[in-house]
Symmetry: C3
Subunit: 352 residues, 3 copies
Amino acid sequence: MNQALKPHFVSLKTIVEKLGGELISEDPACQVSRVGTLENAKADAISFVSQAKFLPQLATTQAGAVVLPIAYRDASTLPRIITENPYLYFARLSAFLNPPKPKTPGIHPSAVVAASVQCGERVSIGAHVFIGENVRLGHDVVIEPNCVIADHCHIGDNTHLMAQVTLYAHSQIGSRCILHSGVVIGADGFGIAVDQQRWVKVPQLGKVVLGDDVEVGANTTIDRGAIDDTIIEEGVKLDNLIQIAHNVHIGAHTAIAACTGIAGSARIGRWCRIGGSARIAGHIHIADGVEISATTFITKSITLTGTYSGGYPFEPNAQWRRTAVQIRHLDSLNKTVKTLEKRLAALERKVT
Amino acid sequence: MNQALKPHFVSLKTIVEKLGGELISEDPACQVSRVGTLENAKADAISFVSQAKFLPQLATTQAGAVVLPIAYRDASTLPRIITENPYLYFARLSAFLNPPKPKTPGIHPSAVVAASVQCGERVSIGAHVFIGENVRLGHDVVIEPNCVIADHCHIGDNTHLMAQVTLYAHSQIGSRCILHSGVVIGADGFGIAVDQQRWVKVPQLGKVVLGDDVEVGANTTIDRGAIDDTIIEEGVKLDNLIQIAHNVHIGAHTAIAACTGIAGSARIGRWCRIGGSARIAGHIHIADGVEISATTFITKSITLTGTYSGGYPFEPNAQWRRTAVQIRHLDSLNKTVKTLEKRLAALERKVT
Amino acid sequence: MNQALKPHFVSLKTIVEKLGGELISEDPACQVSRVGTLENAKADAISFVSQAKFLPQLATTQAGAVVLPIAYRDASTLPRIITENPYLYFARLSAFLNPPKPKTPGIHPSAVVAASVQCGERVSIGAHVFIGENVRLGHDVVIEPNCVIADHCHIGDNTHLMAQVTLYAHSQIGSRCILHSGVVIGADGFGIAVDQQRWVKVPQLGKVVLGDDVEVGANTTIDRGAIDDTIIEEGVKLDNLIQIAHNVHIGAHTAIAACTGIAGSARIGRWCRIGGSARIAGHIHIADGVEISATTFITKSITLTGTYSGGYPFEPNAQWRRTAVQIRHLDSLNKTVKTLEKRLAALERKVT
């Protein structure tokens, strides 16, 4: 994980052979062993520029090489790799230089695993894990220490549960998923019916279904459906501390930043991008490809692709207090203006 | 939990004998084995309509039977049960058709339970659970795997801790409570006194007291009191990822949706309903029966029953940018209007 | 933890000898055994007043003694201790009367601890803890049950991990830190590059570094850096359910209330105070000593010390609906007013 532990060098020539891109270097044998930021990289590291605003840092960086977009191919004299999308290139380069350390397969003796569990090949189950009845684990699944997997869950090939993940009964997790620590999948949705004297719990009988290649950030919660299922399609990426309520449906490849809350039965399209701390009301539909800015509260369905925003502007405290007063008087200000219009029109008629 | 595993059929006649309601059916022997949504139910399932907007789905549903409100008793020709509150009826019917599978009592050999723990009858303690000194567990308590219960906690009869719940020392949990995975009860409140050079921690000596029939959603946190206790009265329902700060007092049967934060020493009445991502400032009082809309930030005490809202409207991004500029100029707009009024009045005096 | 268990009395005289302050009492031998609130304290407890608004409660309190600020030294006839900062005094007094119960050192037999772990003296490791390879624990470290500490972590002297804390590999925790239950340190930051058809994960290679005397509230998440590290300097205090994204840098002694989210690469100064549910956008800088009010969304860098706010005002629902309409029409209202100004000016020219 930490690059410091494995300093093996690779030449830029090998990198472009592997990952593509155009190499510009007086010394194609130039080697790097790690990735670095323009600010902190040393001669053993390769860095990148994806946005014009970072170009000035090229003048001072101590990186040994750099990845640049086509438009800025000559913005540096360093050994460099030219590519269309440097951020994507960098993601791949970083993965290439830092291959994940394979887990030793096996079940830790302290794990409690029901006899009915079906295990694929090369599965790794860590210390203090609990796995209930009739669970099915694909090949190369890794379950880190202290996870709890309740009865009847299915987990696809190559999926990785970090420490302390909880799956309630019947959860279905796709292949190549990553669930970070503290994630809770399949807890009861918030379904309560009001009786005269008290709340009555509505049994939550659906399950959670995660498609392939889903990543779920730390301490995020995804509730099981009330009757039908909560569905997160393939390639969805969820950040930390997100709440997904019962019967939400999230389309493939949608990405959602941290602290966002999505209320029950909301249906979100494919390839949406939702900023941090956004709120989506229950039972609404959001079209494919919609972008929602951070902190926006979406209260109605959105049928047209586009960017929608609702962050309230901040101000120095004294000014904010004055603004808040005006906001509470907006309705009366509007009436005042309407009255002024009428009085002015009357006066104009009189004078003309 | 998953209905598919236990398809035993029950006649509508048996259902109304058990749960009340009026049965309208040419075939009172008609049987169902599960509940379903209008959209996805098959002939073996009974569905329901609670709001007029779902009535059109009655035309196309494949459900074998349906629960309808009195006002729409003839909205379908399906075998049907007529009742005043279909959602409540459905909650009970669903519980009737899906009785919880009883846990086998006993203490898993991997659990670490202090010798001083007092256990009621039929208690179930799962794998890798830790229970500290002088803990008292009522009858029929279920502690799922990997929970941690610190010293001196009390847990009432029939309470169910899902996997990975943490109770700090001295926490008191009522009877028939459900605590979902990742819940943390009794962590230190955020009490810090400022010294010239650094923060000094204020010891958090109170505890958390949960009444009977409280449900707490996944990853919700309820902090212990600083000196006196944090109190959640009976029947309170909390959704996921909620923060309850030290010394908060929540009245009986109040329901709070996900991602809401309640600051220290706030006092919330009985039978309040608080929407998702709401924020309640510290030290304020909220009367009984108050409803707070999602994302609203309550900064002052509320003494009158009613609904209070403060969600900021979203707009397409370009329009939102213009609005945000205007909001920052609201104070000057207001002054402009006031000046216009004066000038207009002067002109009116002159002309008349 | 709960005061009820250890009623040993201390005289006010001993307290002022230990902690300073001026004692005013007809009976300097007067003794207390605990701290209490003005409202609920009995004769065995000492209470305090830090703000003028609590003075009226002095008339009815049953406390045996009280801590008062210099300005109100005669606001009560109770035995009293006079000091400049009663809240700070109270924090120290409370710690003095409630010394933490020392943990018995040792490793619980159910813990799984790699042979390569280096342990300081008097370390306590609880049940079902997992500690990976090459971890270094300082002296007097306490690891409560069910924590997971991945490879290569370092934890400084006297640091206390409450139950169910997770440290990902390479996390560095300072001395005298407190990490509450459910905290996740070092999960992957939310780094994804867009390819034509899908998201590509950007490896998260940095780590998390926490300085000395940092406290982290329950279920808070701090992500590891993408390339460089996420850094939380000494004395920072974080409440519950906070999200700190990758490569954030928080200056020493900054305090952040619950439910706040800080986006990637934001840089926050020293001694800032950030209210609950605040949001800080990515890549911005906030100067030292800045105060941010609860629920404020900071979208731009702040270079001047001061208080900044952005909470949207709440209203009774009907009024809020009218306000929301006006907000959406603010731009057109502004245009109307500008037109009025022109028409009025024209009329004024005509009439004068």
